[in-house]
Structure formats: C-alpha cells, structure tokens
Subunit: 392 residues, 2 copies
C-alpha cells in the first residue's frame, strides 16, 4: 500500500511540498519569489522543494516571452503540470468490470462497464479493465500521467498484503495490486466495492459533501459502508459496514456467512424473490409491484426489517444521511416507506426529526467512482493536488 | 467553541507555529539558528513566529552562562514554557463532580471527586469544581498556566452555542461554558461525559492506544461512546453512542426516551434490580450474586441482550476493542460471560476470533480524564503541545 511511513523529517518535507502545490493551485502560476513570500520558506528550502517537484513532473516552469521589452532576463513562473492528478477507478464486481476516470480538476470525465462470466480470471478482468480505460473519454486520458488507481473488489478487504506476498486466504486478490501496478505503472489502492460506493455517494452522489453517511446496498448480497468525518471508515481488520450480517431475525434462516437470521437472509434480492414465490427475477418482481399486493406485502416486511437494523446503527453512530442503494432500491416508495417507518420507530425520539433517508444516486458506477474518491483522499501522491473546493 | 475558523494565511501561520513548538518539544532547547535549519523557514518568518510565541508565553528564551569562555555573545536558546500545557478535566455527573489534571508532559497529576445533591445549581457545582481543582496535587497546578478545560456533562451535547446565546432547549448547560471561562479564564470544551469516558478508556484506560473503540456504560442509564481512528466520534447533532436506545426487546417496556424496548429498559441498574425483585440496591445485588442463582439468571438474560446489541454495532463499525464500564460491570464474569456469548453468536463468523471484550479500567474518573483527553486532542492551543508519544 502506498501509505506514508516516513519519519518526521520526511513529513516536514512533504508538508512543504503540499504547501507549494496548494499555493500554485489556488494562486495559479507564481514565480519563485512570490512562492517564497507566500510560503514563508527560506530560499534554500524553497528551491530544493521546487526542484524535486519539477523532477517528479508535478510542477513545470515556463518563461514567458515578454510582451514588451523589459530589463534583465524574464522571470520563470511555475505551474502545476496540466496532466498531474488524473486518476482512474476500477470496480471488479462479481460479473462485470466498471471503470471511471477524473481529470486534473477532479471532474469525472467518463465511465464504462462491461459484463463478463462470473468465473473470468483476474488476468482477463484486468485486460477488460485496460480496454475500457483506454476507451474512456475518447482516449483523452493519458495513462502516462495517471497519479493512481483505485480498485474495488467484492468481499471484505483486510490489510492488503505487500505485492510479493502470496496470501493463502485470498490468493487471487493478493496478486491483483501487483498485476495492476505492472499494467498501469502507478500506485494501486484497494477496498471493498460496496464501501467504495458509500464513499462515492458521499463525494459525488446522494449525500455529496455530507460528513457522516450510512450507505446500505440491497443487491444479491446486502452490505454497506460508513463515511465518518468525510473519510471512509474501515474498522478493525477492514470489517466495518457489514450491515447485511446484523441479526434481523434471531430465529431466521442460516446465512451464507454461517450465522442465523442476518439481514441478508431477509433483504437480499434472492430473499425477496423467495418470499414472493412467483417472480422469476428482480425485473419481473419490480414490474409486478404496482398491481401485486403480495409483492408490496413482501417489501413491507422486508422494509421493516431493514429500517429496524438501520435504526440500531443510526442510534450507535448518528449519521447525517442514510443512503439506500443497490438494485432493490429501484422498488421505490414500496420499499422506502416501510424502511422509513421502522427507522423512525426505532430511532431515539430526539433523533427522529433529523432522520434523512435518501435513494442512492450513482447506480452501478458507484464502486468505480468511490475507488477514485479513495485515491483522491488517500494517495500520498494525489493528496497533494486537492480539488479547489476542498481547500479551506 | 475555540475552534479555528481562520483563513488560509492564518492556518499557514499556525502551521509554522506548530512546527516550531513540535521541534522544541522533540529536540529540547534550540537556538534560532538551529530552529531555522530544522524547520526550513526563512529567517524573517522564523523570528516573527518565535516573537509571537514568546509574547504569548508559550516559548521562553534563556541565555546560558557560558561554562567556559567563548568568543562573542552567548547564543540564546528557546524552550517551551514549563507551565504551558497544563489542562484540567471536570465531569459534572448527576450527583457528583469529578476533576482531574495533567501536567505539561500530559501525565495525570491528580483527580478528586465530591458527591452532591442532584438538584445543586450550576453556580454551586462550579464552586465545588473550583475547590476540588485548587486542592489537586497539593496545589502544584497553576491555574494561570492552564491551557484549557474539558468538561463532561450528562445527556446529549449538540453543537454548543456561543457563550452569549441563551438556549431554550438547555438553558442551564448553555451558560456553563461561559461560567467556567469567567472562573478559569481559559477555553472550555464540552461534551457528553459518557462519550468522554470512552475517549479516556482509549487514551489512558482499558483500550489505551487503540484506534477504534466501542465503549458501553452500564449505570443508572445506559450509554456509550465510539472512538474512531483515535478520535471521539460525535455523529450528526452530537447523537452518536446512544447504544442504550437501540431496541433490544421490540415488545419491551417504555423507555424514558419515549420509545419501547430500548437496551436501557433491560440493562440499566434499575432494570436489573427490578428484574431481580428483592435486592435493595446495586451493592446488595452484587453482594448476593455469588450465592443467588436468581441474580445470576437476571444477569444472564441481561448480558444476552447486551451482547446482541453490541454485535449489531460491531458488525456495523468493526471496533478493535469493546469496553464495558459503569457500576454494573462490577458484576464481573456473571455479566461478561453472557455478553461475550451473545456477542460472538451474533458477530459475523469472520470477526469472531478478533472480538476483544474488556472491562473498563478508569472507573468514575473516566469522564474527567476524557475531558482532558478532549482538550489535548482538540484545543487549538493545546494541540500545539502534542504529547511526545503522539508524534509521528
């Protein structure tokens, strides 16, 4: 993981670099003299930092052709490299690869998806991702200028092992960062794709800019993620956001995780279809919903369970906004109404007026967008180029 | 609230000040020349920053008497002011005031408590706190050198209003920071005392140094707090950690909060005594426990409810350590065993081997100690004097 384990002096130096980059971003092109005055750094330190940033390609110097004659040689001005700060996100979902990319201004410049067989190998998935990325935004993305790749994967992501450590518990995943780094030549950050979707909703989606967000995804599995203080919350051993495995029915069915009565055994797409009994798949169920009281009744029961579990989590962590996503959220009010009713019933009364339940906004691109958000938040390289609106 | 709302230039300057203070803390006394070399700041900036810090009393200059003859005038060295960095914590509990203090090295130098009637007014409680503080550590605490006061109070603490804003919803509390600031003349930080106890356990107690901690307090009320990434988690509107109001028995008793079946209706001291039926108070209940199967049975049922609720929260947020505190925790294994059994039963199987349930270590001083920890973490004044072990 490209996390920072430098000592105090390394950190001090990085702080100076970040300061210079921030000044260039906020003020635009500046001369060394102006940078010195604005930063308070000594001439020696400043020249040293600028030289390193120029060597690394983050900063470029331009000497303007003087529009009018002046004395002495023209003063070189420094600017951020226009390509620095591009990032891509790749979501390796169960049966599809989703990719998205942002430019230097951290605007999303494109996203793409392609379905594949569930048993496709990692080499082939990475090939697929590379082709999708190459086609993004009409090829305007320069792979050579990438600052980082964020990657979403299915299942819990514990501390990612070093690239060269084969991992018995999850050998395929352990090799993925290395595979991607070889292919793209930049740092790779990996996390659970559902948690990344939570971060995406809090960055660009239904809860954009909200500091504390609870995101629940209702799909073939049930999971979620927490954004705490604007950052993705991981928890010990990467096991936060497992709302699907909170016990919803103590005497309920055995869950794939091994315990009984998890929310996932009640609120997954499969569980909903089972409870309904006749719809062949989710589209058929959703199509029948407006004129099928049995379907509405199933969602009422399911929504009540969901709302009760959400209330427990909300009482514990007090999110500003709760976001419901995943394919099942397309059921709309037939699901949201019972969820909200049970949520309010089991919230502390003092919290009820502040409950804010929203539908997810980003759909299937959420994981890839969240992977980008992860890179923008966490990469020591990209953190140096904060988006303009993230500056204090 | 003494939070920082400066613009970028103010922040830049504060960053430089923090850098100088950190260097003095880690390196000990330094000359201006050494500070310039270590900080990378220009001579002008450095002298300006040092002058401001000396004016504010944070830094003092000493000119050593040369032990041997040297040429030129002796070089002044700069050190942190020995009294800067003292802080006190005050916990205004329902029927007692607890105080604690730390010295410049952030070592706890003393704590004290005094019980009072539940209806004692705020002026009198503050008087009581002041007398307790004055007696701390044999009077070695210099009130004039205080950097900040952290204060714990009962009940939810929303955004604290400005000092001069009377607050209809909680008028007594709204005046408290002003009252304390007038009395002690330093910034006051206020939070819920149970949440502060969580921070204390994660700073000096059962989970010292642990990043993600869930703390549940079983007393006459049931509450708790979350430490996330080493910092106190507040949640939206200051309503995080309300584990006592998670529904534990859907058909259960009406809670003081207004909803039904809250954990507090099952696991508070009052609920335990009610369920037992004969013990007059908690000491009597605890004394009877070793030879009273009915008491053990009550705790088995209560512990099961507690563990089930804790598991839901753990699945959601994945803490490293779960701490049980409050007077009821003194029941020991008769309570902890059923809690742990239910916790493991309802945790995701993958998380079970990592569950770490501990008894709180700080007792009734926890709130006051947590109030100090809050000041050390959050005061813009004290944040400039990080404890040595908190430095990267």
């Amino acid at each position: 993981m490209p996390l920072d384990h430098q000592g105090p002096l390394g950190r001090l130096r990085q702080g100076h670099e970040e300061l210079i980059l921030r000044l260039l971003r906020t003020h635009g092109p500046l001369s060394r003299g102006e940078l010195g005055r604005l930063s308070g750094l000594s001439r020696t330190t400043l020249y040293d930092i600028v030289a390193a940033l120029a060597d690394g390609g983050a900063v470029v110097g331009t000497t303007p052709v003087p529009a009018e004659r002046r004395r002495g040689r023209p003063v070189e001005t420094l600017t951020l490299h226009p390509d620095a700060g591009q990032a891509i996100g790749i979501d390796f979902a169960r049966r599809a690869v989703h990719v998205a990319a942002v430019n230097v201004a951290h605007e999303v410049i494109g996203s793409a998806s392609q379905a594949h067989a569930a048993d496709l190998g990692w080499e082939d998935r990475v090939d697929l991702a590379e082709r999708l990325v190459a086609g993004l935004a009409g090829g305007t993305l320069r792979l050579g200028a990438l600052s980082g790749i964020g990657v979403g994967v299915v299942g819990p992501v514990d501390d990612v092992p070093p690239d060269d450590t084969p991992r018995a518990a999850r050998p395929a995943l352990a090799d993925l960062p290395l595979l991607l780094r070889k292919r793209f030549g930049v740092p790779v950050l990996l996390d659970n794709n559902t948690r990344l979707a939570a971060l995406a909703e809090a960055t660009w989606g239904a809860a954009a800019g909200v500091q504390d967000v609870l995101y629940l995804r209702l799909s073939y599995g049930v999971g979620g993620g927490l954004v705490v203080g604007g950052a993705l919350h991981r928890g010990a051993h990467g096991l936060s956001g497992e709302f699907g495995h909170i016990t919803a029915e103590p005497e309920g069915r055995r869950c794939s995780c091994g315990k009984d009565g998890c929310l996932e055994t009640v609120a997954s797409i499969g569980a909903v279809l089972d409870a309904h009994g006749t719809a062949a798949d989710l589209p058929a169920f959703l199509a029948a919903l407006p004129h099928d009281p049995a379907a509405a009744q199933v969602l009422d029961t399911v929504g009540t369970r969901i709302g009760t579990v959400l209330a427990a989590v909300c009482n514990a962590i007090g999110p500003d906004v709760t976001v419901l996503g995943g394919e099942l959220a397309a059921a709309g009010p037939a699901l949201f109404r019972p969820v909200e009713r049970a949520l309010l019933e089991h919230l502390m009364p003092i919290s009820r007026s502040r409950a804010d339940l929203r539908a997810a906004a980003l759909g299937e691109a959420g994981g890839a967008l969240g992977a980008i958000a992860l890179v923008l938040h966490e990469s020591p390289l990209l953190a140096r180029y904060p988006a303009p609106d993230s500056l204090e």
